[in-house]
């Protein structure tokens, strides 16, 4: 992805991105009911590389299946390109894990930008310690074979009721994760940077005692003038 876009997206919140997408009629881009295993205090940004799970059938999913070097879960971890975010469609079912700390450590070492599932991670207490952003619904200790069979790599999926196409830009902060369609990521990043500047200005004004009426949004002309000054003063 565009490095400038990546840089911009590191500095904006998912909430601001939601509003930028809402204006374009995209109202359903935030992955629902997914949260950081542990807040990192910095954003996760990267293109989506996807893994699709389907319900597991007992005869196809003994523990020995992992001896297969072509098992899609393993292959996904070993082929997810550097700087990408591995996004898993676990059908919102956290009763069994989507992955554990060993695989996510491997993904981290390989340069993955993050990992997201709408299910749960096992060894979440250890994943929390890793230097890679990870998002899930809740900790889930049972192996994925219990309920999930990894079936497809890098196809369009659903994650937390949101459409994710390979290459879409994933952004996560300490609240949640959003999916930006690849083709508008650059313009959304630009707009979000602008919005963030104004929001920072607003927060400063509000902390000084200013009313939000006329300020947020800026329906009073003078606020736009003040913002213009503030940008100069703050190099934004």
């Amino acid at each position: 992805m565009n490095p400038a876009t990546r840089e911009k997206l590191m500095g904006v919140s998912v909430a601001t991105l939601c509003s930028a997408l809402f204006k374009r009629g995209l109202k359903n881009q935030t992955i629902q009911d997914v949260r950081p295993v542990r807040g990192k205090g910095r954003n996760m940004v990267g293109p989506a590389f996807t893994l699709r799970y389907m319900p597991a059938r007992e005869d196809r999913n003994p523990m020995s299946i992992f001896r297969n070097a072509d098992h899609p879960q393993r292959v996904a971890v070993e082929t997810c390109p550097e700087g990408h975010v591995l996004v898993m469609d676990s059908r919102k079912d956290a009763r069994a894990a989507s992955a554990g700390d060993i695989l996510i450590t491997r993904l981290m070492v390989r340069g993955g930008a993050g990992v997201v599932t709408d299910g749960g991670f096992r060894d979440a207490m250890r994943i929390a310690e890793l230097d890679i952003p990870a998002y899930h619904s809740r900790p889930s200790s049972p192996t994925n074979l219990t309920l999930h069979e990894a079936i497809d790599i890098n196809v369009p999926i659903g994650c937390g009721d949101v459409a994710v196409f390979p290459g879409d830009i994933m952004v996560g902060d300490d609240d949640s994760v959003i999916v930006i369609p690849a083709e508008i990521a650059d313009e959304i990043a630009d707009e979000a940077v602008e919005m963030t500047a104004y929001e920072d200005f607003v927060v400063e004004r509000v902390k000084q005692g200013e009313t939000i009426i006329g300020l947020y949004p800026a329906t009073r002309e003078e606020n736009l003038a003040l913002f213009s000054e503030w940008r100069k003063a703050n190099g934004r």
Copy 2:
């Protein structure tokens, strides 16, 4: 599929098939929370032909998208082979429809053996009148574009928390729908016919006042002897 197997599966219940599969360690083959749009008083039997939906993104799913002759939902209905059951992965979300009466009429005319979704059908009141078995979660009037984008045809899917592979044998009765892995459909059909004979014998005995202890299952030898006679007498 094997015509003899089809014939056998027309005469057994989903409950009996559940038990036959349970004995082989397959405990999760009944599609959960799905029911007939209207009970037909006869079984639906046929190999699965699948359609996968993912969450819809607004810009990709205007009403005009249906003008595209390659739209996967339309193509699925037009290519589902005769005698097959069209099975849809709607991510258990019945807030928008999986299909409506026009498409299902077309499927019926083309010789489809039935249709199953883990979402809902629109025009369910009309689908109920058609001469094709249809199973869903509940009626749902909004067009599929509202929440669902048809994305893949005849890939492995989940339906009602059950794994469905193309070619698996679907059987539905007036209670529910079950998925029989293709490779064991013949033997399961054989076994279910045997079990059904015994169950019919049991019901007859129970109605005559017999206790179920020793009869169901047959732990008293004499019951096996009586069953043997009953089979001869009833041509089973």
Copy 3:
């Protein structure tokens, strides 16, 4: 139970019983999310005989376990006293069955007054044909062994979020099922008969065009007088 009470309870609705219990501070007696397998057009009435299920553990619940003559599910069906209602605590989980048509046929033949589960029945399409009232959440084809282990007979249970003690009086109509604590069943029956008379009078008046204000409840004196006449005229 008192035959006169049984007779009275055959002629009143669950809704009326709810209101009589509400007046005594009992607000949570209707089994939630349970319905007739098929409406019988007549009430189910009888004391509760209970069966408690717990979650099934795979090694304890092979199909062969039913060969055990002491299996609590079988024993429950064979020992439920005549005129009683078999009430099952299935932990509101209808993903596997609580019982099937063979057992319920046996219960019917043995004189059971009805059967209730907060899970689901398999062979529901056949149970619907039997001459015994049966209530569940939805049809469920998998054998109970899949998820439920029968563990206790005739202990206090929960059913659909309601407390059921052995001997409590169960009443079901075509809408739902209610639990009347045994010790107040007689007085509740009396009161419900009185309330039903008044409600029938009210419906008649309302159909004639009367307002409900002052009539339901009877805050206008004249309505009580009219009701008194109506009772004489109608032998109520």
Copy 4:
């Protein structure tokens, strides 16, 4: 409401109305998880008259509260204008009733066009027999006082996750209920009548063996010509 619009809306399905609203960007107008107490085989049409419930607090909701002639539930039933549909916001909670057969009988006698709740009705088995369309989630015998306090009449509400403003046009068929914003009801009715004509033509063609590709929607010119002839032939 416009009598011509009412007439038109009597002859179209909720599914068709959904599609007409979808085209205008209104994608969330069908009341979710609500169904007819009993299908009437004819539409319910009328402007919304609303009742808002809030959670009940025990001290404010003894049975005696109904003696108050100003109780909003009773007042709603007695003031709902002729030809209107009484729509109740029960916060999607069917664990206690929204109303029962006496009130709905009164509403019917007063000329109400129908009644809708996103909770449940008590005495549903009797409401089913009345000559007024009624829609709910499921039967619920406990009196509304158990969980619901009627608090506001004819204010904007939510019903089954849909916005309902007083005067919006409600249409129900045997599948579900939809809310048409008052200001576009006439044009939506017109469009739906046109769409219905085309859909009827399509169904006829499909039953004759025609493919849906090019026909539904009409991307092949010849189909529009055939439709034009069909309209003449059928007086549509």
Copy 5:
């Protein structure tokens, strides 16, 4: 509100208040499934000022609607009286936000005592840093316009299945939030202070190895005598 009552309520737990209300027959006063955005280690106390959301309709809720100085969400934040708690009825739907950090900063600056929603807050990671108690279900980044339309200010509402009337006293601790009916807030505060003294005494005794039988509750006389001494010794 009574400053002495406020002071007392700052020093008791929601659990203790629950028990005091339970004794008066009020069993449903704790807002369900709501938690602090971040525990503050001190109570939130103040009268309720309410905001009611209804489902959003797309045409009424473009982003530009916020330019309206009368938008109820904005007005609520600007008119909530000092020392009050802003309580929002978001219909338990956290798929879109109830408010974000800018509005809650404004509320804080204006002297609001806290904010509660049964939905979710956007910018929750920033709200956590503010010096105002905030309670929600989970972080939710999408703007409220996506699903919620602010419609009414300071009317009776439901929040987390609990009735909230304007002026009711809200108390939150690091576990949850409770609603005390305004008219009994003083007496409940008094009682809770007494109960808290006894509970603190009990905890001390239990830590010393005392059994809870006879102590909690105090059915052994000697424990009341010991408590009396303890009060003197501890100035309680």
Copy 6:
């Protein structure tokens, strides 16, 4: 329980135990949707001592019932053997508490090894400070009497959809809690220690840049050799 087994189980994760049980066909042993009130950074290990709750009926559950020295909740806390884990079946209903800080303090003082409910604890913020591991679904301030009646001590129960028999070995870490059938606890502990050694080796290798293919599981011979060396070097 076997002290050596206890020691071993202190050093393995719930995820590893899940996998060991999965290999024996036990796929449903992790208590679902339950988490530590506060992570302790060390395991909870001990045999299960159980308490069964049923739904509360108002007349049986006034606050005064706690004056009864035989109340099962109190008796459970006073009789749970030292080193055991008190496990509560709260029917997955966290709308009212399963217990509070006073009882859990008493359990701690008496030497309890931990406490688990599939409901919620009141005073969770204080329980978090205690030196005893506690697991629940979420904080819940209402007294248990509101919804739960303690009815049975040390019978087989369900907890979070898992079967728990008295004496089964409970193990909790900072992610979740698992139930090991008593009769296989020793062998599972042995196996889990072995698995943990290999997993620790794998994590070390992966952090050094090794691929997981052939390593996890060990399908490349050389990895087994390296592991053998690693064990010697690390005294494992």
